[in-house]
């Protein structure tokens, strides 16, 4: 009750009496309380929402959800049951529990597909019942015909399905209270909201787990595959090396050399696979030395001109040595990758262009082809692992070459770039810092 006393005045302003007004303010207090509760709920919702969306571990998500909602609803206990079936194919699995000691449930049969649970776990229905023991479907299913012995006493019952984006019921949040009529429409709404957020997090967490496990399987597979591939390679390489040393006619000698060359290529492919997994685990090591990259290019081009029957290499390497500091073998691998690609992806062309240039203490190598070219989107994804353009079916490759090339150039402090027009050909270029020139080294000393 609220009482207001106001003075009663005459026309001249003199107080002549007092009026008393009494008001019933129950509604005001109720709405104030409701407002406070609403704010509190909102805060809880917010905290729970934040913590579950930041969490990728299933146990953590579900425990937070169960704890928070049990608190919000004032339930005697709250639990999340997985919709997993056991060997008998008919029960749910208790996963998290709040408000009651777990051992109460330890020796108890898990809920099954009874008339009470089915609507939630199969039909995605929210069940809010004031007194479950008086419900028409209660106690209809053998063997317990109701709750099993020793079960936490439940009158008020609230069950809310947690539904995955795919539409399947991941599980259900169940709440119980020994007194009847404890759960309100507001409770229901709150838990439904939290359950929806939890479902999203659980979906994400599942995806994350799947990706992680796939990635691990892939690494195991690579290790296994490289081992299996190296075994026959060892024998082939061995016999070819024996043959290469034998006196033979020119043609046989040439064929053996060609075969050995291909075997080396095969070995490189297998090593690429291994290098990739080493890069992924941060175990790729470099052996740095100072050398003339122009000289290296000359040798590579010479080998290509000798072995490639399809393409001519048109070169412009300048007149002076180009000295860099790097891992000779890896740099050679990077160059070989670019030249092989240029030839591979320009099957109808007859030439590729190689250009070496020095500007401002940096060298730039360009490898240009008149091949199939690349779309803008392809250019963006080109350097990612396993990436192969969709229209390259029929052109062999693992999708590792450019990935490894970029890793090598990056690790040498260089930059690799591509420019291309679809259907017109591509140009790949990389820039590396020059090693200190002799004069500079002398100066430095």
């Amino acid at each position: 009750m609220s009482i207001t006393v106001s003075p009663v005045k005459d026309s001249r302003g003199n107080i002549v009496g007092a009026s008393k007004v009494a008001r019933d303010i129950t509604t005001r207090i109720e709405s104030q309380t409701a407002m406070e509760k609403y704010i509190k709920n909102l805060e809880t919702l917010n905290t729970v929402g934040k913590s579950i969306s930041e969490n990728l571990d299933v146990q953590g998500i579900l425990q937070r959800v169960t704890d928070a909602t049990t608190l919000l609803t004032g339930a005697g206990f709250g639990a999340f049951f997985y919709n997993n079936s056991d060997e008998k194919g008919n029960s749910f699995r208790l996963f998290t529990l709040s408000g009651a000691p777990r051992k109460i449930f330890d020796n108890m049969a898990m809920p099954r597909h009874t008339d009470i649970f089915l609507p939630t776990f199969r039909d995605k229905k929210v069940m809010r019942i004031d007194d479950i023991t008086k419900h028409a479907d209660f106690g209809k299913n053998a063997p317990f015909n109701g709750m099993p012995k020793g079960h936490f006493s439940v009158a008020s019952y609230l069950a809310i399905p947690v539904v995955s984006k795919s539409g399947s019921v991941i599980g259900g949040l169940l709440y119980g209270h020994p007194e009847a009529g404890k759960f309100t429409a507001e409770h229901e709404l709150l838990v439904v909201n939290i359950a929806a957020q939890a479902a999203v997090s659980l979906d994400n967490s599942k995806l994350f787990e799947q990706v992680k496990s796939l990635s691990e399987k892939k690494d195991e597979f690579i290790a296994l595959a490289s081992h299996e591939l190296k075994t026959p390679l060892t024998t082939i390489k061995g016999y070819l090396q024996v043959l290469a040393k034998k006196e033979a006619d020119k043609m046989s000698q040439l064929f053996v050399d060609k075969s050995l060359y291909q075997v080396e290529k095969l070995q490189t492919l297998v090593e690429d696979l291994l290098n990739m997994s080493r890069i992924e685990s941060g175990q790729l090591n470099f052996r740095l030395e100072v050398f003339d990259i122009k000289e290296m290019l000359r040798e590579i081009i010479e080998t290509f001109s000798y072995s490639s029957q399809s393409h001519r290499v048109i070169e412009d390497l300048g007149n002076n040595p180009v000295i860099i500091r790097g891992d000779r073998q890896r740099i050679e691998q990077a160059i070989l990758n670019l030249i092989t690609n240029a030839i591979k992806y320009s099957p109808k062309a007859e030439e590729i262009f190689i250009n070496l240039e020095v500007v401002d203490e940096k060298m730039t190598l360009r490898v240009r082809d008149k091949g199939i070219g690349l779309t803008g989107e392809q250019q963006q994804q080109l350097f990612t692992r396993f990436y192969r353009a969709e229209d390259t079916k029929g052109i062999s490759g693992l999708g590792l070459g450019l990935y490894l090339t970029k890793q090598i150039i990056d690790r040498h402090g260089g930059i690799i770039e591509v420019s291309s027009e679809y259907g017109e050909g591509s140009e790949f270029s990389f820039t590396l810092p020059l090693a200190l020139q002799k004069k500079n080294i002398e100066k430095a000393i």
Partner: protein
């Protein structure tokens, strides 16, 4: 004539190495499994063991340990071979050869162990 025992499960590699070593005037005995090798060990011991690491019924590293602990075999050089990427240490052996190997390299390493 120096004698070498080879344990290698892959037929191709086993025959290749046998051929290479016999061409170099070594006497060679080959075993495709750890079991076959175990049977032969109580007999006359060789001058060098060449062991593959991944075997269908065992592991070259374990065999090497047994040999190094064995009274008759502890002083005999052991060379391990593997195509497995993660193994590149000698694992208690006297040398390690990665597959695929260069023929000359293999022979050079074996020669070195035999002094």
């Amino acid at each position: 004539m120096k004698e070498i025992f080879i344990v290698e499960d892959d037929d191709g590699i086993r025959e290749l190495i046998e051929f290479l070593l016999v061409s170099q005037q070594y006497s060679v005995k080959t075993f495709p499994t750890a079991r076959a090798f175990h049977k032969a060990i109580p007999g006359k011991v060789p001058d060098l063991f060449l062991l593959d690491i991944m075997l269908p019924d065992g592991n070259g590293v374990d065999l090497c340990r047994e040999l190094k602990e064995g009274e008759k075999t502890s002083k005999i050089p052991v060379v391990l071979m593997s195509a497995h990427a993660d193994i590149s240490r000698t694992e208690g052996a006297d040398d390690f050869i990665a597959k695929p190997f260069d023929v000359d390299e293999l022979l050079k390493r074996i020669q070195k162990q035999l002094g």
